[in-house]
């Protein structure tokens, strides 16, 4: 089986965003437009954070709502066919935890591919890349 990304101890998150920057570097450059993982504070930084990333649903709502069939299921998670995608952003709305990110530059969804690069760059062991 493949590996899935998992948030194992969110209490250790310090909001450094190294996970998000690592994710964006998959495409070679820097910045955050292409990051599939996000960190948000829970009502003030002192209250801690949530790490928002694809949970690799059994029955993915993002796939179900896509009007052009641009999202397909793979062994762990989904893949977006950027050529087929029309940029309607319905997948963004469909994900209950908000794990479908939006690349405002390309106007396409960005969804985690469970490669585990972010976990390699998490200095505080918040994330793990585990066998499913």
């Amino acid at each position: 089986m493949g590996k899935r990304l998992r948030v194992v101890d969110v209490e250790r998150c310090v909001d450094c965003l190294l996970c998000a920057f690592a994710c964006a570097r998959r495409f070679g450059g820097g910045g955050l437009a292409k990051s599939a993982i996000a960190v948000r504070s829970v009502g003030g930084m002192e209250r801690g954070f949530v790490v928002v990333v694809c949970r690799a649903c059994e029955d993915p709502p993002c796939l179900a709502v896509c009007p052009v069939g641009a999202i397909r299921k793979v062994e762990v998670g989904v893949r977006v066919d950027a050529d087929r995608c029309i940029g309607c952003s319905m997948c963004v709305e469909a994900c209950a935890i908000g794990a479908v990110q939006w690349d405002a530059v390309e106007r396409k969804p960005v969804i985690c591919v469970h490669c585990g690069l972010c976990a390699q760059y998490c200095p505080h062991s918040v994330l793990a890349h585990e066998e499913v």
Binding site: L17, L18, G28, G30, L32, A33, G44, M45, P123
Partner: protein
């Protein structure tokens, strides 16, 4: 080109207009950060203008490494300082640098004064001017920040800068709070914002950053990251944070206590890093793109004054410098008391360091009879009395009466009126940082371009000399300090956090820049660092700064340092050498 570093965002507060100028010229010559900011300041700040007049601009700048490498997490602010009357420069992390760069700007220049209070909402599409009349006069800078963030909502990674009552009331050392726990603390940027009727700035960014050589970028990043998380040099900031310094400084007799009447508590000082962490540390946070997480928040649990079984838990960010200034300098030794004072300055939007030193001077002046209870509004400052200090901080922020108004303009201003200048601990007009290590520390405070301990870190040279059992001649010390200050101009132009100065050695800086921008060699970068430093001094001279006019408070000469008593002649000799090297135009970082 969208997202390019050389896009400079200009904001005209008087006309509520904004526009972008392409300044590729500036960025190719001066990298970014401090190098670019000093040019923008020189261009847009009219000679000898009143720092609190609309003409004084605020420049915010990031650099070529911002948001591309770990620990490249700072924004450089420049303005004419209302405290010193010359160069105002302050660096801040949080999310500020990331948000500005990912919004697609390398710098921002804020000009003129709004007719009514506003805050700015900035993103890739430009600037929106938001009515802040309802936020003006709020008792806490934290509430105002939360309101701005909630109102703006929106996508992207956001930062929020704002002032508190101290900035609105033009206290000349009012700071700017960023997120909740970081600051453009020193030299009065908060007052300059207040003078512009600018309550805050929200910046949201989420862009892409192209790099010159993708393969080299990935390799350089991986190497730097690995060193950053394994480095013992970073562990100090990571575990206990900067308060780790307090114990060693106290043991060596370099920790200012009660307005530098004493220099330590021996080996068991109050407010020491290990005990604070054990008893109070509630959470740690990082600036964006920094694995170190040096931001330490104490969880202060206190009973409600009236209701039984009613507790509130306040999170207070603590660091060495505020603990020194509002703790040991005031004889405040209970951690809860010091943390409460830190919280008060956070809400009021004061620079913790200048505020603490001002209160320390007032306490001694009261003891010596220069100030009476009437001038103090019925208050009786006493070492260790955190309650009276909290009220005095409120009085300073609100400029309640002539004495507190002067205290809100720094100890030099207060001592000029009431006397007691021998123990008014300011250097170049800026209140003293927490280092009485030896000649190096005080020469940094005297000769550093912004009179900050971080300019050239003389305290580190003193500690080196202590360990080695050596001493440097004034000329050697002058050259060593200037060389370090020039190197730091490179770091603050890239822009890299000074805590990472050990990681960003010459080879690393060159490799990082070459991968994302273009090939540069270290010798050229150091020449640029010297040049930037000279440009800062040219600005200072233009605004009336003179090395000869520097005042050395007698207290710093009377109280021995771990390296012995300091002599005014030796310090003056080193100051002259700094001045000579800067004026000569020769490369001082060679040899």
């Amino acid at each position: 080109m969208p997202g390019a570093l050389h896009r400079v965002l200009f904001v005209d507060l008087a006309r509520h207009r904004s526009w972008v100028e392409d300044r590729a010229d500036l960025y190719s010559e001066s990298l970014g950060g401090a190098g670019v900011a000093i040019e923008l300041l020189r261009e847009h700040c009219p000679e000898r203008c009143d720092p609190l007049a609309p003409e004084n601009p605020i420049v915010l700048a990031v650099g070529p490494l911002t948001s591309l490498y770990p620990l490249a997490s700072k924004t450089v602010a420049m303005f004419k300082s209302p405290l010193t009357g010359n160069l105002g420069e302050s660096h801040c992390g949080g999310r500020s640098a990331m948000a500005l760069r990912l919004a697609g700007y390398g710098a921002m220049v804020i000009m003129d004064r709004s007719p009514t209070p506003v805050y700015l909402s900035v993103d890739a599409g430009g600037v929106r001017f938001r009515d802040a009349r309802t936020l003006w006069g709020m008792s806490s800078s934290l509430t105002a920040g939360r309101v701005m963030l909630e109102r703006e909502g929106g996508a992207g990674h956001r930062t929020v800068l704002r002032i508190g009552p101290a900035g609105e009331n033009l206290v000349t050392y009012a700071g700017v709070t960023v997120e909740t726990y970081r600051h453009f603390g020193r030299l009065g940027m908060g007052a300059v914002m207040g003078s512009k009727h600018l309550k805050g700035i929200v910046i949201a960014g989420n862009g892409d950053l192209p790099v010159a050589d993708r393969g080299a970028y990935q390799r350089t990043y991986r190497d730097l990251y690995t060193r950053a998380v394994r480095s013992p040099a970073m562990r100090k900031y990571y575990e206990l944070g900067t308060p780790e310094n307090l114990g060693p400084l106290s043991a060596m007799g370099a920790l200012p206590v009660r307005n530098l009447q004493a220099t330590g508590y021996g080996t068991e000082p109050p407010l020491e890093g290990e005990a604070l962490a054990r008893e109070h540390l509630g959470r740690r946070l990082a600036c964006s793109h920094c694995p170190t997480a040096c931001i330490h928040l104490a969880a202060l649990r206190e009973p409600h004054p009236e209701a039984p079984y009613f507790y509130k838990t306040t999170f207070v960010s603590y660091d060495y410098e505020p603990l020194y200034a509002l703790g040991t300098m005031l004889g405040v030794e209970q951690p809860e008391d010091a943390l409460r004072l830190l919280d008060v300055v956070e809400h009021l939007g004061l620079d913790a360091m200048s505020a603490g030193v001002a209160l320390a001077w007032a306490t001694e002046a009261f003891e010596r009879g220069l100030l009476d209870e009437k001038a103090l509004g019925g208050l009786r400052p006493a070492w260790g009395d955190a309650r009276v200090y909290a009220t005095m901080l409120e009085c300073i922020a609100r400029r309640a009466g002539p004495l507190y108004t002067l205290l809100g303009e720094g100890v030099d201003a207060a001592a000029a009126e009431y006397g007691g200048d021998s123990y008014a601990l300011a250097f170049g007009g800026l209140e003293m940082p927490g280092y009485h290590t030896g000649p190096g520390a005080h020469l940094t405070h005297l000769t550093g371009a912004r009179h900050s301990h971080l300019d050239s870190a003389g305290y580190a040279f003193d500690q080196e000399d202590m360990k080695a059992g050596q001493s440097r001649s004034p000329k050697e010390l002058a050259r060593a300090l200037l060389t370090e200050e020039a190197r730091r101009q490179v770091l603050s132009s890239l822009v890299v956090c000074f805590f990472a100065r050990g990681l960003y050695d010459a080879d690393t800086c060159v490799a990082c820049l070459s991968a994302v921008e273009k090939e540069r060699n270290w010798d050229d970068l150091m020449a640029l660092g010297e040049d930037i430093l000279r440009r800062k001094h040219a600005f200072k001279a233009r605004e009336g700064f003179e090395f000869d006019a520097l005042r050395i408070p007698a207290r710093t000469l009377e109280v021995p340092t771990p390296l012995g008593g300091l002599s005014e002649n030796t310090l003056r000799e080193a100051i002259s050498e700094v001045e000579r090297l800067l004026a000569s135009g020769e490369r001082f970082s060679h040899g």
